[in-house]
Symmetry: C2
DNA sequence: TTGCACTTTGGAATCATTCCAACTCATTCG
DNA sequence: CGAATGAGTTGGAATGATTCCAAAGTGCAA
């Protein structure tokens, strides 16, 4: 069962939504709480399952809507790996993703700013990039689910 | 109309396929030739259209099969951007991709080995990556096909 | 010749995602 | 007050890229 949003997180939600003229709703609160509760890059279906425990009437369409809304107002990032279902990540710090092909799990990899700068520098003149996506694919040892922060 | 494979490219095709116990077929020759002819990261549908000009009976299923085969034996790379159709790239040198959101075009960005090494170095111990995918997303100036130059 | 492995093909099936029209609910307006 | 408005939610239908499948085709080897 998902814990309610902290006052702080609810404010972040409220403010981010406000930037695009949108409102806090019970569905959005729960979907956001689900993302914060377990930062394992859940798919829409994962989010749906987890959220329904707190709100049985919630519809899949609404989960799609909420997540799209959050991406639109910059609250979460979309994470794509090859042709798999889209995953969602509430970690707003610049980071790369590592997809473990043995377990299917996706891990955040911290991305030092100077590496990011290096990368930008390889673009020829005339190329202006808004976003850079970096994803590793391979195997990792020993990554049982860790207790999550917050 | 697609030009036939050079002797050199046909050999590369033949040898790569052989590594996985597979054969050169007329369909595979044409699909490979299409990829080499215009390195614009075509989708399956693009490849299908172009290949059919030389082989009207070719089926879409076969194009999927050929491309999957090529990826399997390392002849081409798959290129994914967000949720769009998969694109294919015969450039085997390590490189990143830049997706121009204005035109939809995908450009190769050369990737210096030392940058690649930098990137690998940010992985914590225990993470072993087979592949790294880097994609930029933004706008680029001046990449319209020049009316004058071919 | 026959058998076998590999291929190709058209059409059906899958499945994540998007679309749509009806409905709820809160706010604004007359 | 009611009615109109508008955002948000919902279930189900539609979409569309990709995969699956079963029936043929092809070329080589026993
Ligand atoms: Mn792999
Ligand atoms: Mn963009
Ligand atoms: Zn992440
Ligand atoms: Zn490329």
């Amino acid at each position: 069962m998902i814990q309610k949003l902290s006052e702080h997180d609810r404010e972040k939600l409220q403010e981010s939504l406000a930037t695009t003229g949108q409102k806090v709703t019970p569905q959005r609160e729960i979907v956001f709480a689900v993302l914060l509760a377990k930062r394992d890059h859940p798919t829409v279906e994962d989010v749906f399952q987890r959220a329904r425990e707190s709100m049985p009437g919630l519809s899949l369409a609404t989960v799609y809507n909420c997540l799209e809304t959050f991406v639109g107002c910059g609250l979460v990032r979309q994470v794509n790996h090859e042709r798999e279902s889209t995953r969602y990540c509430p970690n707003l710090a610049p980071h790369a993703h590592f997809r473990d092909e043995a377990t299917g799990r996706v891990h955040d990899i911290e991305l030092p700013p100077e590496i990011l700068q290096n990368l930008r520098s390889i673009l020829p003149p005339g190329f202006n990039s808004e976003t850079i996506e970096i994803s590793f694919h391979g195997r990792s040892q020993d990554h049982a689910p860790r207790p999550s922060s917050n």
